[in-house]
Amino acid sequence: MEKILEVKNLKKYYPVQKGIFSKTSDSVKAVDGVSFSVQSGKTLGLVGESGCGKSTLARAVLRLIEPDLGFIFFKNKDITKLSYKEMKNIRRNFQIIFQDPFGSLDPRFTVFAIISEGLINFSANTKKEVIYEKTVKAVEDVGLSKDILNRYPHEFSGGQRQRISIARALVFSPKLLILDEPVSSLDVSIQAQIINLLINLQKEKGLSYVFIAHDLSVVRHICDQVCVMKSGKIVERGETSQIFANPTNSYTQRLLNSIPQINLHSTS
């Protein structure tokens, strides 16, 4: 099977200044030598407690922030050292859904402007009508009506905003989606809706996912493989069923024991 994404020994340290006068600065090892790969059309879960570096990893992999060390391959092409301009052509292939549905949409933009931003960036000379059509298709794909296009983000609930984020990411048909805790800030009933939407979109469009979560409950239903992260490192990895059946790492066991129950099929 083809690897769509491969990450090797990725590191991202944040400098922390200790005192005003001391030159010696410490650093937070947010991501400390992480390697993993994602198979085309599959879902890889990344699980770890809050602050273990999941968001940092997600952002560094897409080079939204610059990793300090390591390699990132997209379809076997090394994208680690590409310039910002060179990255632009690659970016249409992968997108990210952010953790915070309130912070990830510019409050000054209408839904239409938000969703069409990527389309306009990636295909500069597209006709207005085509952009409009594609945008309408994208909102309808995520289960929203095209009537919302003139409205502003603050008028929507968290779940609706995540749908808008998904539409924004999928409007130009990328292959890979990094989902950074897409449902952790939502109500349990809404969580199930969004997860089901993601599962359906994956089937329809043959997407590959990196699904980030801070507990294992959601992961079971959507992931083929799971990596367990702790303090910037991956401490356990394997097929989802295997991780749930017999976890070897004590940290994974602890995560497993603290799973709250959610029922994915009660609402949709």
Binding site: L64, I96, R108, R151
Partner: protein
């Protein structure tokens, strides 16, 4: 449902309206700016019109009751002068003929807004008398007219100067905050250098770079340039701070993932979020520009005779003896004071109403 930009704007306006002083200041400024705009109509005389015989004439007395004790429409008397024992002019009213104050009278001709040639003035008296609402200066020019014309310079320099300083400050601050690193260090050191030099000293040294004898328009733009050169660093520093916090927000990262260029992101996602601050900062800093122009002109380095600005008019009041003998030469200072106060109060109101930090913390 209401659109966000709209509703928060309306909320701000509502809050602003509760701020009585700010509302009062707003109307005061509106009147001042309108009268500067319509100066040629409002001023009864052209700013260059001089009647040497009437140098340092005190404000004309406006009468409502005529010599027979009857109530009448406002009028003035012609004035004659004699020299007293100290060779000082003493003006006396010649009560034989009334000169009623008329609306829309013919007077000095002018081109309104540079095109429309006309000679209609809002008010005035027949030519035989000289109507000086606020007295005259050393050359017998009507002070009220000169103040109204002077407002064109003094009031517009604040707006134009702030506008230029804002553009530079927002751009530099946005770039500096977004890119960080070397760009940031370089730009911010530059801003700090300008900020640590006492601004009055900087103003004078910048003025000395340019020739002394220039056309009034050139001087105007030099003064604007000097004032905005001094003004941009303060704005840049705050915009930079805001840009640093905005650049870490997820919608900025999202825009990067969506293939946005750095400059595009700064323009679309960073700078618009600083606007509420920038507008408040602008209204608060306008007085600085007005005072700066006044200071330069007062020293004879700004707007020069026969053109007028409030600072330039005040230069007549530089000697204490002048103030004692002709206290009305201080009146341009009152206009400066009122304008500066009004901008400060309006700025306070705007800050309370559109508190940019509140919006910032909210989400």
């Amino acid at each position: 449902m209401m659109k966000k930009s709209n509703s928060s704007f309306k909320r701000g306006i509502r809050k602003l309206k509760q701020h009585k002083l700010a509302v009062f200041s707003f109307w005061t400024l509106l009147i001042l700016y309108l009268s500067a705009l319509f100066a040629p109509i409002i001023a009864p005389y052209h700013y260059e019109t001089e009647k040497r015989a009437f140098s340092y004439a005190p404000p004309s007395k406006v009468h409502f009751i005529d010599s027979k004790g009857k109530f009448s429409r406002p009028f003035i008397y012609r004035r004659n002068y004699q020299f007293n024992e100290f060779y000082k002019k003493v003006y006396q009213e010649d009560k034989t003929k009334k000169y009623p104050i008329k609306l829309f009278v013919k007077g000095d001709s002018y081109k309104f807004l540079g095109v429309l040639k006309t000679d209609i003035h809002l008010f005035g008296v027949d030519d035989a008398a000289y109507f000086n609402l606020l007295g005259t200066d050393s050359r017998g020019r009507d002070l009220f007219s000169r103040i109204v014309y002077g407002g064109q310079v003094s009031l517009s320099i604040g707006l134009v100067g702030v506008f230029i300083a804002l553009i530079i400050g927002v751009l530099v601050g946005g770039l500096s905050g977004y890119f960080g690193g070397k760009t940031d260090t370089l730009l911010m050191r530059l801003a700090e250098i300008i900020m640590v030099i006492p601004s009055f000293y900087l103003m004078l040294s910048l003025r000395s770079v340019f020739s002394y004898s220039l056309s009034s328009l050139q001087i105007y733009f030099i003064v604007v340039f000097i004032m905005s050169f001094i003004g941009w660093p303060g704005i840049a520093r705050v915009v930079r701070g805001m840009a640093i916090s905005i650049r870490q927000r997820e919608f900025v990262l999202a825009s990067r993932a969506l293939g946005g260029s750095h400059l595009g992101i700064i323009r679309k996602h960073i700078i618009p979020h600083t606007f509420s601050y920038v507008i408040v900062a602008a209204s608060i800093s306008i007085p600085g520009y007005i005072l700066g122009e006044s200071a330069l002109s007062l020293l004879g380095l700004g707007i020069q005779d026969p053109y007028t600005s409030w600072g330039n008019l005040l230069s007549e009041a530089m000697a204490v003896s002048q103030i004692q003998l002709h206290p009305w030469v201080l009146i341009p200072g009152i206009f400066i004071f009122i304008t500066v106060m009004a901008f400060n109060l309006l700025g306070d109101g705007l800050r309370d109403a559109f508190d940019p930090h509140a919006e910032f913390i909210k989400k």
